[in-house]
Subunit: 714 residues, 2 copies
Amino acid sequence: MAVAACWLAGALYLPTAQAEDGYELWLRYRPSATERANPYRARVSQLVATTRTPTQAAARTELLRGLDGLLGAAPPLSETVTADGAVIVGTPSSSPLIAGLGWDLRGAGPEGYLIRSAVVNGHSVTVVAANEDIGALYGAFHFLRLLQTGQPMGRLDLRESPRTQLRVLNHWDNLDGHVERGYAGASIWDWHKLPDYLDPRYTDYARANASLGINGTVLNNVNSNALSLTPMYLEKAAALAGVFRPYGIRVFLSARFSAPIEIGGLKTADPLDPEVQRWWRAKADEIYRVIPDFGGFLVKANSEGQPGPQDYGRSHADGANLLADALAPHGGTVMWRAFVYSHEEPDDRAKQAYTEFVPLDGKFRDNVMVQVKNGAIDFQPREPFHPLFGAMPKTPLMMEFQITKEYLGFATHLVYLGPLFEEVLAADTRVRGKGSTVAKVIDGSLHGYALTGMAGVANIGADRNWSGSHFDQANWYAYGRLAWNPSQDSRDIAEEWVRMTFSNDADVVAPVVGMMMGSREAAVDYMTPLGLHHLMGRGHHYGPAPWIEGGPRADWTSVYYHRATRDGIGFDRTASGSNAVAQYAPPVARRFGDLTQVPEGFLLWFHHVPWDYRTKSGRPLWDELVHRYTRGVDYVRQMRRTWHRLDGRIDPECHAQVAAFLAIQEKEAQWWRDASIAYFQTFSGRPLPEGYPPPAHPLEYYQSLEFPYAPGNG
Amino acid sequence: MAVAACWLAGALYLPTAQAEDGYELWLRYRPSATERANPYRARVSQLVATTRTPTQAAARTELLRGLDGLLGAAPPLSETVTADGAVIVGTPSSSPLIAGLGWDLRGAGPEGYLIRSAVVNGHSVTVVAANEDIGALYGAFHFLRLLQTGQPMGRLDLRESPRTQLRVLNHWDNLDGHVERGYAGASIWDWHKLPDYLDPRYTDYARANASLGINGTVLNNVNSNALSLTPMYLEKAAALAGVFRPYGIRVFLSARFSAPIEIGGLKTADPLDPEVQRWWRAKADEIYRVIPDFGGFLVKANSEGQPGPQDYGRSHADGANLLADALAPHGGTVMWRAFVYSHEEPDDRAKQAYTEFVPLDGKFRDNVMVQVKNGAIDFQPREPFHPLFGAMPKTPLMMEFQITKEYLGFATHLVYLGPLFEEVLAADTRVRGKGSTVAKVIDGSLHGYALTGMAGVANIGADRNWSGSHFDQANWYAYGRLAWNPSQDSRDIAEEWVRMTFSNDADVVAPVVGMMMGSREAAVDYMTPLGLHHLMGRGHHYGPAPWIEGGPRADWTSVYYHRATRDGIGFDRTASGSNAVAQYAPPVARRFGDLTQVPEGFLLWFHHVPWDYRTKSGRPLWDELVHRYTRGVDYVRQMRRTWHRLDGRIDPECHAQVAAFLAIQEKEAQWWRDASIAYFQTFSGRPLPEGYPPPAHPLEYYQSLEFPYAPGNG
């Protein structure tokens, strides 16, 4: 109690600079409520944990830091158990006590752990046991999370291990510090001062990721620069790898396919050229000399102007195998992206990845994974699952989610992506009957993949709060939790995050989780309802621009995707149109292709529908569109009210920033609604349904807006 | 005592995130040492200050925050004096108590203040009195500084007013967030979220500047973008102006001379064209509608590719007067930069500003100031004072210093610029006899200027510590203090800053001030000793590159400036050469032009000297060069040792960062020395003097280094 009083007193003296600015993420470790703190203190009377390896030290330091914050004082360290309430952390080889328990840890694998109540030396204790140090570190974070989220600690018997092997962040960070599609400031990698200066932030980055089980990071943009593979930059990457290593995080690099030409002085990058093969082998050897646990390469090839094997008439498999062969002796992996579309426009861009990759199934080396975006277009607010999932049984497919909100309102819109991720993972491909979910593709259980993984395009930048907004931290968090276990419930994840980030108080948790859970559907509503997609501003992707047409290629316009005419709207991807539906397994294809069966959220994704088409609500399509646009704005308005009521329950600086961002979101949601309605009305020719206010400005106003310096432009 | 114990206890619980990361700058307000805190508490028993205006509120809030931090508790507020130790802050119109004192405040002017011990209602009190609220705010910061620096408070009788009117920061910040020559991260202006989101950092920026008396800020780069003058961006600038206004800081904008064409749709930007004149008047009217206290325009014209009046055959005066006439009705000022050099290369770039501007003396409107860099080339580690100072008696000249260390080691080199600023300000132009210092030109006393001012190119960015390093904060600080009073001693300023930033402990203050005071000379030594200049990498200006030649123009090379040959080195600017010396007043010209009189620090700036020339040390020139290069590196090594000894006396996170940066500085100082010696030795053909180690690598190694992503490139 004295300590708690001290804390409160201290808080009054803290200047603004130390307000809750979000830097600590979900690892805030603020004092637990008294009614919980006392029982917890009884369960955490001493800590038995060794520090003979850097990872062991990281676990013990984190436990001391966390328990100190949560309980007001760190427990004393002890060599052995001398009292009830000891917490023992380690592996059979690091801890004789754990070895003595004789538990069967085989099921935990190299990264899993048990957290169990037990009796040791006649004392009731809690044991965090793992096969490897990294498992113990993960378990330590889990143990802290139990306290952070106010869980009962009476009789613990938890068993966790990750369902995927590679849980990777992709940073689209350029060497000049710009983050493509970044809305949280510049890159956190200070390449200029590396390798000599190791910003403490790098360690905090590793801690945050390890707390989620993220075990890999691709440091540089998939639109890559060959200089990242030169000795000067490898030395810098190695310095980061050294910081991350104790936290179980391996460094990967995006590799530019033409690097043999650009930095190798070769005349070609042809994957079948022996000199090229030699160059990549030598480069891999060089990398592993400075980064012994280097993870491998991520490659964007023959897509949006990037070089690739097709420049030499070779296939994606030829390209991926070139790099795979170079990495194989060292145990590295190639993550080859399936986000490709050729210079020649196909009839439907949505079909291209499938068309190019399915014939290559089985042609990739064992250490190649194909990394597939969740949908076939590009991280839209809602897309049906990518038809490649389930279609390449012999090739390990990784999920690529976008955590950064390129198409979902940048940093200021409160859009919790957990439900989006969950919706995709839970989607049923039907390729091996019912229950053939995307999650089972990803975790390898459907096709028996030897490699499994998930990638998330990071939303991390130099902004003090890492992600550009407090709530965008939840998207990093949800990605990490789902990468560990793709079957988790996004609401449970949201609740965990809210408890750790804001408060365990039910009066805070329930409304904030409520706001979050509906927020993605709201964004779909005010941006692209009913299956509309790709209607944003050109280049920067900021704000509505359904009128975009012309330019270098049709599939970079909006009109290509919505196909609105006087008679209707939507992209016919049925047999009468592009027949993209045929890329799905027959039961799915039938459902998506049938106007009476298609989920309404995908209506205009798959069908061109007349304006007077009767939707499930009974409203004609046009009225339903207007209704949904409006409903999206209303949801944001409601979030503002909810948040306003939480004033005084949340740190003032944090509350004020979220409130300001919600005001921006409401303004921009209204802008999306009004601009979209004004534009589509020129096709529908229909009045707004009664009670729905007209757009605030004429269409020309919305079309006149320009944002040449909107952030994140690639 | 209980409170102090609480503080210490609290400190143990603070996670890394709240270590001393430099965010608080010199306004840390950490608890005073007990032996000082108790007497201070007796002198600060209550606070009498009103908050009827935003500036009054800012002053009172700052005092409460500062005293709370320094003394462990804020004094109670009181309506009147009821005890010894009251502190009264205000103006005769805001405070009847101050009015009642009947003090003569005329000398204080609109921004000055008195801080005096007095007796009020029979109690001994301290009074901070000013004519205007802003003076009281400045006085409040001064009062806090007395406590922060551990000054005795017994019998105060301080009187301060600024010696210059405009004390302005120039931000070279682009609308895309890049800061030209910025080494502290991206721009702090989040243009995308403005005007809706007002980052609390904007307020802290204003506080920091107000604490120094800085009263203006130019938000955007002198290499400017006309979009800054469009309604969308003016609304954003207005939002910032609203944050800054209570702190006495007015917003200025860099104006692009061709804006009438680019955003006005005119065919010309000719300053004598009536339509152009109308456009600028209308633009000024528009700006003042949204920013009623707008400060005015900063203009870089006809320099390095920027448009300007010479594009139409008009003079700089024609251009400046165009904008001045538009601003005049609103009280705005034009700051017209003298940093010009034409597309045609002159015989000596150092001469050009003088040649172009002196004939225009007297031709500028009353609300025009000409802003002159401290030297005639470009912010080199050492330059002689600019010959324009003293040469334009009818035109108010502003000093332009560069706070950001474009040529002085970026963020990682510890180089305290106070001595550089002081050296220039103390330089004697001799134009009105001895004592005609540059400071007296700047403060208006020499020529009776009606307008006076100083500009500093900001070193501020989104890095947590604002300036890229802890020690670079001292350069912002020193600039601000010297803008207020150009005659201040740079050592005194350093000591103040060290006390506020690190500690009042003499064992810290003395060594740190010592490090700082010699650091600029060390940089001159290891980069460009004896008057050498402009020998850095091309474009990014990172690292040594005395071999740079070729390219679009000779005066963008290094060889143009050092002119090394087999027979000697240096730029002959005497009558036998470019005769740039003739631009100075005769006594100065004689001194600089005479090899026996020229200060050795300017030797090779003004003279081409044989390699065996005997320097004042008795060493031949070549040996002296090698000696100085080496001495510079040695100084850095010594700073590292000194800093190492301070371990434990400085916050660990702060200490570690400085230590890492000093290690980088030593490495780079060695690089400068070695590369320069290796290069110049190819001309001198002489061996290194005994005991001086040879360069670590052959010249070709240094020449092969490339840094395409060095930060801050323009």
